[in-house]
Amino acid sequence: MSQQVAHWLDNLLKEIEGIEVRRKSSRRVRVDVPADALPALLELLQGRAGYIHLSAISCVDWIEDDEFELVYHVWSYESHSLVSAHIRIAREPGVYLSVYDLYQPAGFFERDIHEMYGIHFEGSPNMEKFILTEWDGPPPMRKEFDSEAYINEHLSWQEYNPEWLQELVAEGGGVIIPPEEQRFSQKKK
């Protein structure tokens, strides 16, 4: 990103209240905004600064702060830079707005976050289950979900000690392949 573009972007972003811009490297900008200002920011970035590619929406569960962090990574094909817009929303009720109208890829990410974290995105075209079709437990990526405890509670452990394994253990375990039989020593020359 050239100096001129960077300067212009900084000025542009000043139009939004409560914004905090941090330049992490020549191609990475971190922006923290209040949750209600995000749609305006994205609209500005997309419409006036050429950030037309939504690379991803990431969600982080900050359970100690009782908040979810949503990070919108947008890329500009013109200035070759990536802006990551961070917002925080309350863990309860865990509702936010969809940005599908601005960026169509958001449809997938919002559906994924809904499934994994239970955040509901208002206005998103499809909030149906996609990956965890037959899962009826809590959203598994939330920090309070302990997968090991869930397994111990809902599934039983099975003994697995077949004869061939016992034989192998009795022989000292493992198989030794002599060097002349190894694939590479055979193939070369």
């Binding site: 990431s58 982080v60 990070v71 990574h73 990551s84 990410f109 994994m116 694939r183």
Partner: protein
């Protein structure tokens, strides 16, 4: 979409019917399904159904040490695992401020480009099979095997090489390896005219692929498509050049583009990319012997490694498009959050759904393989 969850319903007489395309279907890439609504053989509606390959990588990574995850990440995408390792390693390096030695960077480029060639050969095979040309598949898989031999030799693993670790790479090259690499590259290159005759110029394929699954540049940008699929619509965007990492800015390579945006164009872009990867590897073979020094930066005891708190977003160009990792550390011995953005999460879900509508049932497989959709990346 399991039979026990699917109840037969009495419908009023109509020419419309629903069909489950996948998950066990030769025309579908990996374990994935499309639920299609048809009128005759024209698709009226398509719904992607994933989850058959969900292994919960992101959750698993939060429960393992930073170094342990290195063995986990390549398994996210089977045909092209190397960019996964690199992307994760780059994120950890950025969080720790580790500087990767020059030699390691060149070795990483070598691994990535080999992986790209292997992935493209694999894709050609699968794609050809959708038009009934199984010979290309046998050839593609056999030639890919030669690259896997190289992987086995210099990393120890054929498919999941686990070669990158935060700070550099695990091993120095075996003696005489670059010579053997050159021989394999010469061989692959010498095979390309045969591939052209068998596949790329074969009218059976050309007539099926031309005009199938057309996507305009505007649509591609709107739908968030990246990689060869975007380049097939005429936009020369490549993370390697436009958001460079490793030593790609010191290498000479072109970014092939095609204009028509159909299955044919996408395949041609991959064919040309394969040549560019060979070109990059030749440069690596030439330059690597002159670059000496360590192959990894010293890291703390990996079993008691608290990565400084922070967050980073790293991007790599995989054979399927833009691959990104969003990694968050809270200063602990394990990642606080790892988000994997596989390129296929775009073109295997929403894009495939949109592109299937209006096409004929037999073109779904053609479209899906030409997009090079990789379901394990979507499911993670």
């Amino acid at each position: 979409m399991r039979p026990e969850n699917y109840e037969a319903q009495r419908q009023p007489p109509s020419n419309e019917y629903e069909l489950n395309f996948g998950p066990n279907h030769p025309g579908i890439e990996g374990n994935y399904a499309l639920k299609v609504k048809l009128h005759g053989d024209i698709v009226l509606e398509a719904k992607a159904d994933g989850g058959y390959l969900h292994r919960g990588f992101e959750k698993l990574m939060e429960q393992r040490l930073w170094i342990q995850n290195i063995a986990l990440v390549p398994r996210i995408c089977v045909p092209d695992p190397s960019p996964m390792e690199l992307c994760y390693s780059m994120a950890v390096e950025e969080l720790c401020g580790l500087k990767v030695p020059q030699r390691a960077q060149w070795l990483r480029v070598m691994q990535l480009e080999l992986s790209r060639i292997a992935a493209h050969l694999f894709t050609f095979g699968g794609h050809a099979a959708t038009t009934g040309m199984y010979s290309t598949m046998y050839w593609g898989v056999a030639d890919r095997d030669l690259l896997l031999d190289l992987f086995e030799e210099f990393t120890g693993g054929r498919v999941y090489s686990i070669y990158n670790i935060p700070g550099g790479v695990r091993r120095e090259l075996p003696e005489g390896f670059l010579q053997r690499l050159t021989e394999t590259l010469d061989y692959i290159e010498s095979r390309l005219p045969d591939y052209d005759n068998l596949f790329f110029k074969n009218q059976v394929f050309v007539k099926r692929a031309k005009g199938t699954g057309v996507m305009s540049r505007e649509q591609a940008l709107e739908w968030g498509v990246t990689g060869p699929n975007l380049r097939a619509t005429g936009l020369a965007f490549d993370v390697r050049r436009d958001d460079p990492y490793l030593v790609y800015d010191q290498l000479e390579f072109d970014i092939p583009v095609e204009e028509s945006g159909d299955a044919w164009a996408r395949t041609l872009v991959r064919r040309k990319e394969l040549m560019e990867s060979i070109r990059i590897l030749r440069q690596v073979v030439e330059i690597l012997p002159d670059i000496h020094g360590p192959i990894r930066a010293p890291i703390p005891n990996p079993l008691a490694w608290n990565v400084p708190a922070g967050e980073t977003y790293t991007r790599v160009e995989s054979s399927k498009g833009e691959l990104c990792y969003y990694v968050v550390s809270n200063g602990g011995p394990k990642p606080y959050r790892v988000h994997v953005r596989g390129p296929s999460s775009m073109h295997a879900v929403q894009v495939l759904e949109k592109m299937s509508v209006g096409s004929r049932i037999e073109d779904i497989a053609q479209t899906m393989f030409s997009l090079d959709a990789c379901p394990p990346e979507v499911d993670r």
